[in-house]
């Protein structure tokens, strides 16, 4: 029984990680309708930047996050303006371009770090706390809390502020939003940058948990896609719950089936959701409208 709860907690905390990583992607998907293959790389870059802050300046990750997130915001602005805005109406080229960025970022970091594996883990994730009598890594609990806080904050932002409402309008119907005087291009720019900043937060908070590798972005991007599709494009609560579900599924599958097959699990989830319920659990945008699949 204790094993079960351990797996459960581990799954929930893992879910927190996935939620945090996916929340930025979800926003970008929902608003800009761009498939950003490089989103995982944003997380990865943020992780290295966090390590750099620690190694060079002794700034702990929980403080560095306030430097890294704005940094990633700027990175997002640049990428959107230079690469994605020109390709707004060409989905196939977006795939090429963002995949190109993925390869570019991945290997740039590889070249700079020369493949050395860095880790903050020793310093931070040794700290363990007790949760209902079960032990959990402090760093992971922080991630979970952060994911929950961000999800809540984002929901409030979207529903209470003008900027947030503009974003929601664009998610629902960009043509009408334009007609109402909303500057759609600027909304895209800011949303993409916001998505990158959220990836930055994820990277900073995940740095104490994972051993840094230039390839870690690739892992995150697939999980993030699965989460976003499961939870529904453009739905913040959907991404949050989707993340938890993917984390739980992976945790249970990892124990009862085989940890080596976790990618297969993501794919199976992904395909089943896309085929059976494309708008996700709580999708705001109809799947047909987003172009996810054919109209019936």
């Amino acid at each position: 029984m204790e094993t079960f709860f351990n797996i459960l907690i581990s799954g929930i905390l893992l879910g927190g990680i996935y939620s945090l990583v996916s929340i930025g992607l979800n926003l970008i998907f929902g608003v800009v309708r761009i498939v950003n293959f490089a989103q995982g790389e944003f997380v990865m870059i943020a992780m290295y930047a966090t390590f750099f802050c620690f190694a060079k300046f002794g700034i702990g990750p929980y403080y560095a996050v306030f430097l890294v997130a704005p940094l990633m915001f700027v990175v997002g602005l640049v990428v959107q303006r230079l690469v994605l805005q020109p390709l707004q109406n060409e989905p196939m080229m977006q795939v090429f371009a963002t995949f190109g960025l993925l390869i570019l970022f991945e290997n740039s970091v590889l070249a700079i770090t020369r493949g050395e594996g860095y880790s903050l883990a020793g310093t931070y994730s040794q700290t363990v706390i007790e949760v209902f009598g079960l032990r959990a890594s402090f760093a992971r609990v922080v991630v979970f809390i952060a994911a929950s806080a961000i999800a809540l904050g984002l929901m409030l932002f979207l529903s209470r502020t003008m900027a947030g409402k503009a974003i929601r309008a664009v998610i629902q119907d960009r043509q009408s939003a334009r007609l109402m005087g909303i500057n759609v291009e600027r909304t895209y720019l800011l949303t993409f940058a916001l998505g990158a900043a959220l990836a930055g937060v994820a990277g900073a908070l995940l740095a104490p948990i994972y051993t840094l590798s230039p390839y870690i972005g690739g892992n995150f991007i697939l999980a993030a896609f699965a989460v976003v599709v499961l939870g529904g494009l453009g739905s913040v609560p959907g991404a949050y719950i989707g993340g938890l579900m993917v984390g739980l599924m992976e945790s249970f599958a990892g124990y009862y089936v085989d940890p080596a097959l976790k990618q297969a699990i993501w794919f199976i989830i992904f395909v089943i959701v896309l085929v059976v319920r494309p708008s996700g659990l709580m999708g705001q945008a109809g799947a047909e409208e987003v172009g996810l699949r054919e109209q019936t």
Partner: protein
């Protein structure tokens, strides 16, 4: 491409189109004729011709059909592993083994595509990428079938029936022949009803349906042909490198995305584009790997990534596409 010899109003002759492409393809064989005794270049050319063929195969569904697959590595790997297994376990000569291998790749392709073809554009790409990663995990996992992470090693036993050659130029020639076959198939396809239907599906699925096209069936047919040829390519690859492991076969930058990148640079949806793209990219990448690879790990991929981004922004139609557009403009001014 239109033959300049045609009389206005009469359909262009298939024979003439075929002859023109055969000529261009023969031209691409000139480097092999000149460099057949240079082991470095023969190796580069073997990869060049093989990847030209694989890019042309990808182009059938990715270029003509507009279905951006990042999962062709799966069909490639199935072809490789199958030919290897049939050869090692059953002693089946690869010359025959490539066909059941290709059929298996096709069957898997159809099974994967049937649910995922409902997805539009980028989401189809994501799904295929996820399939690639899932199969990578499976290949690592199933020791018996694929040799797991260590992979399969095909011992060197030269012989025509083994498709293992001492002289490396014979491999390059084999790949060259394969490329010719695949490209000529695309010449036929472009002219056939299926080719037109694929292009229509790519352009506008609703309009295609209104024209009586069963969109799903057409996509599946295109995918079947594409996967079949990719499977054969995988089989040839297996007998060339004779070391097959999951990281090699399922690597997206080296395999899955490479087919798409070559088609993009050369010209998506054109016939000779994949060949042009391969002639450019493969030697370039080898050169970069040689010069940068040691000092800057991943250096050649940085450049490849940059090329991918730049091409998607500035060279969407690829080299061949840009050339055709310029020719058309010149002809109109004339």
């Amino acid at each position: 491409m239109r033959a300049p010899l045609e009389t206005a109003g009469a359909p262009p002759s298939f024979g003439i189109q075929l002859a023109r492409y055969a000529g261009l393809l023969a031209l691409s064989g000139v480097p092999l004729m000149l460099l057949w005794s240079n082991p470095y270049w023969v190796n580069v050319l073997a990869y060049t011709y093989l990847f030209a063929a694989l890019a042309a195969a990808w182009n059938i569904i990715g270029g003509f059909g507009g279905q951006f697959s990042l999962g062709h590595g799966v069909f490639f790997a199935i072809g490789s592993y199958s030919v290897a297994r049939l050869y090692l376990d059953l002693g089946l000569t690869p010359w025959l083994g490539i066909f059941p291998a290709a059929v298996l790749a096709t069957v898997v392709a159809l099974l994967i595509s049937w649910p995922t073809f409902r997805l539009r554009g980028p989401f189809f790409a994501i799904a295929t990428m996820a399939i690639n990663e899932a199969c990578f995990a499976l290949a690592n996992y199933s020791d018996k079938l694929t040799g797991g992470p260590r992979g399969i090693l095909i011992p060197f036993r030269a012989g025509l029936s083994n498709m293992i050659f001492i002289e490396r130029w014979k491999y390059a020639l084999l790949m060259f022949a394969f490329m010719i076959v695949v490209v000529l198939i695309t010449v036929w396809l472009r002219r056939a009803r299926l080719g037109h239907y694929l292009l229509a599906v790519r352009a506008d699925e609703d309009a295609a349906r209104a024209a009586g096209i069963d969109v799903l069936k057409v996509k599946l047919q295109g995918m079947a042909l594409s996967a079949f040829l990719t499977g054969i390519g995988g089989g040839l690859f297996a007998m060339y490198v004779r070391v097959l492991d999951p990281p090699t076969l399922f690597s997206l930058p080296d395999i899955g995305v490479k087919f798409a990148l070559i088609s993009l640079i050369g010209g998506i949806g054109t016939i000779i584009g994949p060949v042009v793209g391969a002639l450019l990219i493969v030697p370039l990448e080898n050169f970069l790997r040689g010069t940068l690879g040691g000092d800057i790990p991943g250096g050649h991929l940085i450049i490849l990534g940059a090329i991918l981004v730049a091409a998607s922004l500035f060279l969407k139609r690829g080299i061949v596409g840009a050339v055709l557009a310029t020719m058309r403009r010149a002809r109109r001014r004339a």
